[in-house]
């Protein structure tokens, strides 16, 4: 009845089953963070693989889209064939109600058809909103449409429960190709030819061993009863239920854990639109390089944003801090709430979730020397961490380790007037260079000074710099120094 369309749609459905279940797994962030930080997963390769979870999610998503196109195309052909090849002989196999039924009616009035169409529309909305350009310019659209995935999964669970696919349950009593004494054979199906014509939607395994004996014996079995068909169990439910339950459990856990209050101890305003926020939360542990996600219901009920920790809680002091740059409407409203309405009782405290370990790999390096290269557009931006850098430098100077940290500050845009950061930061002023850093020369210099050693490169910045650094890290140099590239990722 259906021919090739059945094969393509079933094959693509299997791929879709796998991908729909895998796509949820990289989004179970707490589970991934736990795996990444646990002692059992000590291998650096595994950790770097876990860092690429967002890429994996995107790959699965793209595969879902591609195979959905195939699946939909094949099913549209199937719908047509159901209508055209309506069979009087095996009424139970038909999806159409009569011969020549309008396929569009079939599409919209059956459960699988309707849920399929709705799923395509949801997928269309989700995909068009997930392109790089939209994520960059209007992250909100991406975020709100992507939450439609829940609708998609509900529709998927209903889609496969339609029971259109059937298999024959009484193969013993009515093997395919048997001769029924009481009915007249249809004219265009010769007796011998019955064996070759593929029977629609029957499980082929029990039949595989049979064809040869039938032909050789030249005996056609007599069937004792009419064929009976039963719907396949929707195996999609088996594929999806695991990851879906895991993801729901994780969301519930995140929700519960975010209810513990966070106290804001201070808010400091820095130049160039930067706000420093210091907070305290009980039993909060974090390592350098981790980030937290802030969620403030008073500012926005649904949005939450990641910020790298600039100060981690230690054994002696439980305060931790982040620096935020006021760039979009969420940060602006957050700043207004903190600075202008600070006399209110701060119950709106940001709930947050502690997250992954993007740049945790520094722990496996035995740190001998640190090269700190910071590129800013405005000179006042250096004040964000000027105190910390100066103090660190002075401390190392006192300990007679002046070359432990190598600070280089670059001012990429200058209006021609020589500027200094401030008189009290002489250490930094003497290390201030005008213009963008010349990465190749820097890498050569570092390679020359650290021959045969491994240098970890940690980049936090825009993609262009990241690409250049990645390329330079992977290229070989004549001093035998190895560079390992790490990038900050909020996945």
């Amino acid at each position: 009845m259906l021919g090739l369309g059945l094969c393509i749609s079933r094959a693509s459905a299997s791929v879709l089953n796998l991908n729909c279940s895998l796509v949820l797994l990289p989004m179970c962030r707490i589970l991934l963070a736990f795996l990444r930080g646990s002692q059992k997963v000590a291998s650096k390769k595994t950790r770097r693989l876990l860092d690429k979870s967002k890429t994996f999610h995107v790959t699965c998503g793209v595969t879902i889209c591609a195979f959905s196109v195939l699946h939909v195309a094949a099913h549209l052909v199937n719908v047509l064939n159901f209508s055209v090849n309506y069979t009087e002989e095996f009424l139970a196999l038909n999806a159409a109600n009569y011969h020549g039924e309008d396929p569009r009616k079939l599409l919209f009035t059956t459960v699988p058809g309707l849920t399929g169409v709705l799923m395509v529309l949801v997928l269309f909305l989700m995909c068009t909103a997930s392109t790089y350009a939209i994520r960059l310019s209007n992250y909100d659209i991406f975020w709100y449409t992507h939450n439609l995935f829940f609708v998609f999964y509900v529709l998927l669970l209903v889609h496969v429960s339609g029971g259109v696919l059937k298999y024959q349950i009484n193969l013993e009593e009515h093997p395919p190709g048997c001769f029924h004494p009481n009915t007249t054979l249809q004219e265009d199906i010769p007796v011998a030819g019955i064996l070759e014509e593929p029977f629609p939607e029957y499980t082929p395994e029990p039949f595989q061993a049979e064809p040869e004996p039938f032909v050789q014996n030249n005996v056609v079995r007599i069937c004792t009863e009419e064929p009976k068909f039963q719907s396949h169990f929707p195996e999609t439910w088996l594929w999806i239920s695991g990851p879906l339950c895991l993801y729901c459990a994780e969301r519930l856990y995140r929700y519960i854990r975010s209810y513990k209050p966070v106290t804001i101890t201070s808010v400091i305003s820095h130049p160039s639109n930067v706000l420093e926020l210091r907070m305290r939360k009980e039993n909060f542990k974090a390592k350098p390089g981790q980030y937290i996600i802030l969620h403030c219901p008073r500012v926005s009920a649904l949005e939450s944003h990641p910020f790298t920790l600039t100060m981690c809680p230690t054994d002696t002091k439980a305060t931790f801090g982040v620096h935020l740059k006021i760039v979009g409407d969420w940060t602006e409203r957050f700043r207004d709430l903190l600075l202008l309405h600070s006399n209110q009782d701060t119950e709106i405290l940001p709930n947050f979730q502690q997250r992954n370990y993007p740049n945790d790999d520094w722990q496996c390096y035995k740190l001998r020397r640190l090269y700190f290269i910071w590129v800013c557009r405005e000179i006042q931006s250096f004040r964000w961490f000027a105190d910390l850098l100066c103090m660190l430098h002075n401390k190392l100077w006192q300990e007679n380790r002046p070359d432990y940290i190598n600070i280089q500050l670059y001012l990429s845009q200058t209006d021609g007037i020589q500027k200094i950061i401030d008189e009290k930061y002489q250490v930094l002023n003497s290390r201030l260079l005008i213009g963008r850093p010349r990465w190749k020369l820097l890498f050569d210099e570092i390679a020359k000074c650290n021959r045969q050693k491994t240098v970890g490169v940690f980049c936090c910045g825009p993609n262009e710099i990241s690409k250049v650094l990645h390329k330079l890290s992977n290229s070989s140099n004549s001093y035998g120094t190895r560079f390992e590239y790490n990038k900050e990722s909020f996945s």
Partner: protein, 186 residues
């Protein structure tokens, strides 16, 4: 949610719908379905929509990513002036183009998707958005110093010292950090 620019999303949707229409049309024409003239129409409409929507409009705030090679089509689309600039026109145009493709099974999804794109364009038009072409930036002067210096000094030497130069009064010098910064001993 205040500053969402819907037109950009509608643009992506319309481009995708154009491709869906073309795919559905090609399938129907190749298989010679009954009613394949609709499919041929769908292919033509899909190609037209793709060409119209390929050049991305300029965002109100911030820089816009151009699509690869879009400047040629931008020149063509710009010529039509207010017809292509106004999003009401685009919304109605897409709605009208979508309807005939709804009569054939294989292009019905293209109709639905283009219909959604048309609705989002209507929303963008109601919020006063407009299509503005992305202009080419003027040729930058040749880089001095290997591209490391973005703006060479405007005045020739000898340059007077900092305090006698006319400087816009910037922030108060010497910001005091209200909370002293300490280094945690590891």
């Amino acid at each position: 949610m205040g500053r969402i620019e819907w037109a950009m999303w509608a643009n992506e949707q319309a481009l995708a719908s154009g491709l869906i229409l073309v795919t559905g049309g090609v399938v129907a024409v190749a298989a010679q379905f009954k009613g394949w003239p609709f499919a041929a129409y769908a292919i033509a409409a899909g190609v037209f929509v793709c060409l119209l929507e390929y050049p991305r409009g300029k965002r109100k705030k911030g820089s816009t990513m151009e699509r690869c090679g879009q400047k040629y089509l931008t020149a063509v689309v710009k010529v039509f002036g207010p017809i292509t600039r106004n999003y009401y026109v685009r919304a109605i145009l897409h709605a009208a183009l979508a309807v005939p493709a709804g009569f054939l099974l294989s292009t019905i999804l293209g109709t639905a998707c283009l219909g959604i794109a048309s609705a989002i364009y209507l929303l963008a038009a109601i919020r006063g958005e407009e299509w503005n072409p992305i202009e080419q930036k003027p040729q930058e002067r040749p880089q001095v110093g290997g591209g490391t210096i973005k703006q060479p000094p405007a005045m020739p030497p000898p340059r007077p010292p900092a305090d006698t130069r006319k400087k816009p009064p910037a922030e108060v010098a010497g910001q005091e950090n209200p909370i002293p910064v300490t280094i945690e001993a590891e």
